[in-house]
């Protein structure tokens, strides 16, 4: 028994030594002798394992490349979102610059910061980044390139708060583009959700006036808060009310408060002097054109009257001078200081008389 154990131990030790020796020999083998053995193993016994490893590495590569592709796709999507935001901002700024260039003077540009009040169903106020030190006063009109935004509720030195047309206290006198329909714009008494939450009502329109959908509504300038001709919105439909003598219309505002990023605040002087045809109102356009035509007509009339007066004066002068000349000649008074025109006329008459005398002489036998 002891012999068998001893033999087994020797065999084990021998196997270990053999393995160690073979391993060391394999380690010491040169590259050209080592590679055939490893290659033979790879092609035979280890071939399935090589296949497994290759498959696993492919999976890994696919996984990593998929992650990278996903990252690239995410970054592209993010870039697209950013570019869309930049494009929108650029468009807003271009419009604001365009409005500023059309207004030319009498406005204060400001950025509109949206108040984050989650309990507020609709946006009714905006914080503006310009204040009284820039010339903004309370009740100054706030406009955007699309149209009316609201009024200044409070003006601090460096910032101000704008009350939007969505505020329950907002009122604006309004008119249609042709100036025939007029009324007062209120916030819609029954606000809906989403884009319908910012609708307006045009109240007090005369019953005989029927406004068609998509009729553009402008500020009329009455009341002095807003200058004439700022776009408020477009008529959507008529609202049935209990009023008998007036009509009420639902108006879709031109400016969406959620999209307002840059506004212009009109100064008091500009508010007083008006904005002209900045927003393309036909009534304002027609009105100003009529004024221009009337002014042009007046100047023409004045010019014509002036010309007529001068002609009449010249004619009277000629008659007066001719009368004086003929009277003087009739009574034989020599002129001492004849006027050049009269002298010339007298000389012409003398020449004519001499010519007539000579003609008479030649005709006489």
């Amino acid at each position: 028994m002891a012999t068998a154990v001893r033999l087994g131990t020797r065999v084990d030790a021998g196997l270990l030594v053999g393995c160690v020796v073979l391993s060391l020999v394999a380690t010491a083998l040169p590259e050209k002798d080592r590679e055939p053995i490893a290659g033979a193993l790879r092609r035979t016994v280890v071939a399935p394992l090589v296949g497994l490893q290759r498959g696993a590495e492919r999976w890994r590569i696919a996984w990593v490349s998929n992650e990278q592709r996903q990252l690239a796709a995410d970054s592209v999507a993010m870039r697209a979102i950013n570019s869309e935001a930049l494009r929108t901002e650029n468009e807003h700024l271009r419009k604001a610059i365009g409005l500023g260039s059309r207004l030319q003077w009498g406005f204060v540009p400001a950025e509109a910061l949206h108040n984050t009040t989650p309990n507020e169903a609709i946006v009714t106020t905006l914080t503006l980044t310009a204040g009284s030190s820039a010339g903004i006063q309370q009740y100054s009109p706030v406009v955007a390139p699309e149209g009316l935004v609201g009024t200044i509720y409070k003006a601090d030195p460096s910032m101000s708060i704008a009350e939007l047309y969505t505020h329950p206290d907002f009122r604006a006198s309004a008119m249609s583009a042709d100036g025939q329909a007029s009324g007062i714009v209120f916030p819609h008494s029954d606000p809906g959700t989403g884009s319908e939450a910012y609708m307006l009502e045009l109240r007090g329109v005369s019953t005989r006036i029927m406004l068609k959908p998509n009729t553009v509504i402008f500020t009329s300038g009455l009341g002095g808060t807003f200058p004439r001709g700022i776009t408020i919105g477009t008529v959507v439909s008529e609202i049935k009310t209990n009023e008998v003598w007036t009509r009420t219309y639902l108006v879709r505002p031109a400016v969406m408060p959620s999209r307002v990023t840059t506004v212009l605040v009109l100064t008091a002087q500009r508010d007083t002097q008006g904005t002209g045809n900045i927003w393309g109102g036909a009534a304002v356009n027609g009105d100003s054109a009529a004024r221009r035509i009337a002014a042009a007509g007046d100047s023409l009339a004045r010019h014509a009257a002036q010309l007529e007066a001068e002609a009449r004066k010249a004619a009277l002068d000629s008659v007066r001078l001719a009368t004086i000349d003929s009277v003087q000649r009739a009574i034989g008074i020599a002129r001492t200081t004849p006027t050049p025109e009269l002298d010339t006329a007298a000389q012409r008459r003398v020449r004519d008389s001499l010519r007539a005398d000579s003609l008479r002489k030649t005709r006489r036998p």
Binding site: G8, V11, D12, A13, G14, L15, L16, C19, V20, L22, S23, L24, V25, A26, T27, A28, L29, R34, I37, A38, G39, L41, R42, V45, V46, L49, V50, L52, Q53, G55, A56, E57, W59, R60, W63
Partner: protein, 162 residues
């Protein structure tokens, strides 16, 4: 070890070897799991020391054949580790997962030390870094993975008696 036990051991070792060539490349960790060492220890404790050394030598050759250099280093390390595990099988048979994990850790670290020293792949600080940072980390990961694998494969290893 009867035939049933031998077949069960072969199946479990085959699963571990397959895991070594599938899960390890898929994870591609810097301190990777060495399922071959787990398979070596699992088989060695059921073999005589000499047979365990041969088993380790064969596993090492398989491992070396897929390497680009140091052919024979893994065979040497696994022969020594297999022989040692078989010689210490009384300790390793203890039904204690923590102890098994510790021996897995020691086996992997010893294997890494032998193969690193024999292969001459690193020198100086790099070798020290490999031996005292990455090898212990890899050994720890292997020990944890080995304990989990042994726990999962325990029902397959148990011999049922009617």
């Amino acid at each position: 070890m009867n035939w049933t036990g031998a077949v069960r051991t072969i199946i479990v070792c085959a699963i571990l070897i397959v895991l070594h060539y599938t899960l390890r490349p898929l994870l591609a960790w810097r301190a990777s799991i060495d399922f071959l060492v787990v398979a070596l220890l699992l088989g060695s404790v059921r073999l005589r020391p000499g047979a365990a050394a041969v088993y380790g030598f064969i596993l090492g050759l398989v491992s070396d054949s897929l390497g680009v250099s140091a052919f024979g280093a893994a065979a040497l390390g696994m022969s020594v580790v297999g022989f040692s595990a078989s010689w210490l099988k009384a300790v390793f048979f203890a039904d204690n997962l923590a102890l098994n994990g510790f021996f897995l850790f020691l086996a992997k670290w010893l294997f890494d030390i032998i193969s690193s020293l024999v292969s001459h792949r690193a020198h100086g600080a790099e070798l020290a870094m490999q031996l005292f940072v990455w090898s212990p980390l890899s050994a720890a990961v292997t020990a944890v993975a080995g304990v989990i694998a042994l726990s999962l494969l325990k029902p397959l290893m148990e011999v049922r008696t009617a």
